[in-house]
């Protein structure tokens, strides 16, 4: 009965808030619990002003999204987390953002260490923004147990984050991850938009996934404005996203190789990643693909002459990539490292709602390009790459399988673009639909990128929610470390390669 009460949506569909039935709190909870028990994922759970709660369930097998919302009478409700672990970070987040307390949350700690946006008091009784990671950590006590704290300043050139290990000798009992150092307030900055900076803000949610976030943002605006993007522009966007994926996967395979001290692939991939990035730069002037996509179309079109020029470079980059990565699979000393490290249990992977590469490495068949196709992926499908073991090897292997698929998509895409005339430039978007909700998802190279927007009566954003795949997956890294050697943490961490800023927003 609850399933019927939830409105189904397609990826990128706009729905008027008035057409969304308001559920009572108990049926809202029941809808989520029953949905996740039935195999759906909690793709987003967030609060908006006036104590409203919104939940997006992704039914990947049924290829649809479901949305539910309720209005709380008071700023607290019985927590979903004890029965639905996927909700745990979302509930901490909405408590922090709106002061809504999920009663009975087993792991109730701040996420980004800022004060509530609304007038509600901080659930942790804080009266000023505190430094991130200032909180109680889970501790294992005993004579033989020792604690290792890593970060937020790391030895390499990476983002800040704090990791607290409880170790018994070299074995990790428990890892707790505290983030929030990169919190910039993107969601809040987007409220009141769209304004000229909105696209830039969306792109910088996680810099290495600029295209994935920009695309999610653009589709959201286009859907709210009722604009259709031409198939050719969609094809170019697909090329942009797959170039981003290829560059990052190549970089990751090289970095994984470097983390086990296998120099050949590490050295080659460092350079080859640059070759892939330069293909993006050739089109839009930015190696990260900034300023390529535009709401309604493209800032930088990929005209036939350019596509013809890029094709041979793509073929060469792919040949180099294949040579470098095959060295990796051929090295027994590397495989023995990859195959035993960082296993995530497939059942736990589903329970905590892993997405993207990390989920597919556990055999969870889930890929937005396949399940909730957007842009060109309906007409030119990319099927999910799967592995089973859930170890570092699986996560590396998925990257390789996806690289193969991406280069195939890119070859076809560039060949097609080389033979079709560019679209005329598109103008600015018409005003957005007022009092509406839109959910837009793309598959970034890490996994599912979700943007959700609510508009007010003037068609401006009254709430903008971004869910980066890292938000779902950081907990997966903590699980991968249970019982693992602490010396293998860097390798496990690299195999997830999650974004700190995508989590911290």
């Amino acid at each position: 009965m609850t399933d019927l009460a939830m409105r189904t949506l397609r990826n990128g569909q706009t729905v008027g808030l008035r057409d969304l039935p308001e559920l009572t709190l108990s049926s809202f909870r029941e809808a989520i619990l029953e949905g996740t028990r039935g195999g759906a994922r909690l793709a987003c759970l967030c609060a908006a002003s006036d104590l409203r709660l919104f939940a997006i369930l992704a039914d990947d097998a049924g290829k649809q999204l479901r949305v539910a919302w309720t209005r709380l009478a008071e700023p607290k409700y019985p927590s979903l987390t004890p029965e639905c672990p996927q909700a745990h970070l979302f509930e901490r987040e909405l408590a922090e953002q709106f002061g809504i307390v999920p009663d009975g949350h087993p792991w109730f700690k701040p996420v980004r260490f800022h004060l509530p946006w609304s007038d509600q008091p901080s659930p942790w009784g804080r009266d000023a923004d505190s430094l991130p990671a200032v909180m109680d950590f889970f501790r294992v006590s005993g004579e033989e147990v020792h604690e290792v704290a890593v970060g937020p300043v790391h030895a390499g050139v990476i983002e800040p984050g704090h990791f607290r290990f409880q170790c018994h000798g070299e074995t990790v009992f428990h890892l707790e991850i505290a983030l929030g150092f990169q919190h910039r307030g993107i969601e809040r900055a987007l409220v009141g938009g769209p304004h000229p900076l909105s696209l830039k803000q969306a792109e910088t949610a996680s810099g290495d996934s600029s295209i994935a976030h920009a695309w999610a943002h653009c589709r959201l605006l286009e859907s709210l404005a009722g604009v259709e993007v031409s198939p050719r522009a969609d094809r170019v966007r697909g090329v942009a996203l797959e170039l981003e994926r290829a560059a990052n996967h190549v970089g990751d395979l090289g970095a994984l190789s470097g983390d086990v001290g296998f120099l050949p692939t590490a050295s080659f991939c460092g350079r080859i990643r640059g070759d892939w990035l330069n293909l993006s730069a050739e089109v839009c002037g930015s190696r990260l693909g900034r300023g390529w996509l535009k709401p309604g179309g493209l800032y930088q079109d990929l005209d036939p002459a350019l596509a013809t020029r890029l094709l041979p470079r793509l073929i060469r980059s792919w040949a180099d990539t294949r040579d470098a990565v095959e060295l990796l699979w051929g090295a027994a000393s590397v495989m023995i490292r990859f195959e035993v490290a960082g296993r995530v249990d497939p059942i736990q992977a589903r329970e905590i709602g892993l997405v993207g590469v990390a989920a597919r490495a556990c055999g969870v068949e889930q890929d937005v390009r396949w399940d909730h196709p957007f842009g060109p992926y309906g007409a030119h499908p990319i099927s999910p790459s799967l592995a089973e073991s859930g170890t570092v090897h699986s996560r590396a292997w998925i990257r390789w399988l996806e690289l193969i698929e991406s280069q195939r998509f890119l070859l076809e895409g560039l060949a097609e673009l080389a033979g079709s005339d560019p679209d005329p430039r598109t103008g600015p978007l018409p005003p957005l639909a007022p009092d509406s909700l839109c959910v837009s998802m793309t598959e970034g190279w890490r996994g599912e990128v979700l943007h959700l927007a609510l508009t007010d009566d003037r068609g401006r954003f009254s709430r903008y929610k971004i869910v980066d795949p890292s938000f779902h997956n950081w907990f997966g890294l903590a699980l991968a470390l249970r019982g693992e050697q602490i010396s293998d943490f860097p390798l496990c961490n690299k195999s997830f390669n999650l974004s700190y800023c995508g989590h911290d927003l």
């Binding site: 020792h146 604690e147 290792v148 704290a149 890593v150 030895a155 390499g156 000798g169 070299e170 190789s257 983390d259 086990v260 001290g261 296998f262 120099l263 050949p264 590490a266 050295s267 080659f268 090295a331 000393s333 590397v334 023995i336 490292r337 035993v340 490290a341 050697q485 602490i486 010396s487 293998d488 943490f489 860097p490 390798l491």
Partner: protein, 308 residues
């Protein structure tokens, strides 16, 4: 020992100069080989000399938790390395310092250096350095038997407990020694890689503290003490490298030829280390003891072969 064209004092001076000045060249060579294998041009071969010069001009930063023990590590490592370098012959060129039983002193000079390094790591109170110290001690406890069983085999073969006779004695050339000698060299090669924190045991290039064994113990050193640490590490490469090469270096009639042979051997060793690091990944840390155990077994079999 006959030294036809060079006087004993000239040999002494040459030995000392080699010991003092040559070590930083070895890591430079290894890194060059790795760079070339990876298709990069890489840092100059003399990079470590430049680094040492730079560090010597820098001020050191000391954590408030540290005491004089923190300095004992770097100073002790270099001091022990220099004395050990006087005991070991550089090919067939004569040894400045040699007496019966110096092999024990040689082995435990490195023991002393390790002890001081571990203490200076613990002195920082850092959890990383504590982990590194635990790893270093655990693994060196397995490297030491391999070294000593090798010594035992060579002592049996040469009926001597002095390094210069054991390593360069005439008995090594006989056919009966070939098998045991190969086994000793295998065992010592493993000790060489482990003691010098090279791949596959440790990764000297990694920036990941959690995976380090040796490097993590010196994370808090800076300035001149850090220069000593780097210099001490290269000294160890030279001294243990000499130990590893001596039994296989041929004897030339002229002293200058022996020096040349030693230099060539050292170069070949650096290239070999560079090649290993270019082709193999690091072991998982749980596998390192098994690798060291292989070293113990090789040396032990060498000794057994000589007993029968």
């Amino acid at each position: 020992m006959s030294l036809p064209s060079l006087t004993v004092s000239a040999q002494w001076v040459l030995h000392l100069l080699t010991l003092l000045l040559l070590p930083p060249l070895i890591p430079g060579l290894i890194n060059k080989v790795k760079a070339v294998m990876a298709g990069r041009s890489g840092p100059p071969v003399l990079q470590l000399y430049y680094d040492l010069a730079k560090l010597a001009r820098k001020q050191a930063v000391f954590s408030r938790t540290t005491t004089w023990v923190f300095l004992a590590g770097p100073v002790g490592t270099v001091a022990a390395g220099l004395v050990a370098g006087l005991l070991v012959p550089f090919g067939h060129t004569g040894t400045p310092l040699s007496f019966e039983g110096d092999v024990i002193l040689f082995a435990y000079l490195f023991g002393l250096a390790r002890f001081l390094t571990v203490l200076s790591a613990l002195d920082t109170g850092s959890s990383f350095e504590g982990m590194g110290a635990a790893r270093e001690v655990a693994f060196s406890a397995l490297a030491e038997p391999a070294l000593f069983l090798g010594f035992a085999a060579l002592a049996k073969a040469s009926s001597s407990l002095s390094l210069s006779t054991m390593l360069l004695g005439s008995g090594l050339g006989s056919g009966r020694m070939a098998g045991p000698l190969i086994l000793v060299l295998v065992g010592w090669a493993i000790v060489f890689l482990a003691e010098n924190a090279r791949i596959p045991v440790d990764d000297p290039n990694t920036h990941l503290e959690l995976t380090m064994i040796h490097e993590v113990m010196v994370l808090d050193h800076s300035g001149r003490p850090f220069a000593l640490v780097l210099y001490g590490a290269s000294l160890k490469l030279l001294v243990l490298g000499a130990l590893l090469m001596d039994p296989v270096l041929p004897r030339a009639p002229q002293a200058w030829q022996n020096w040349l042979l030693f230099g060539a051997g050292l170069g070949a060793l650096a290239v070999a280390v560079g090649l290993v690091e270019s082709m193999s990944a690091r072991f998982r840390m749980t596998k390192v003891p098994q690798f060291l155990l292989a070293g113990i077994l090789a040396s032990a079999f060498a000794f057994l072969l000589l007993l029968v």
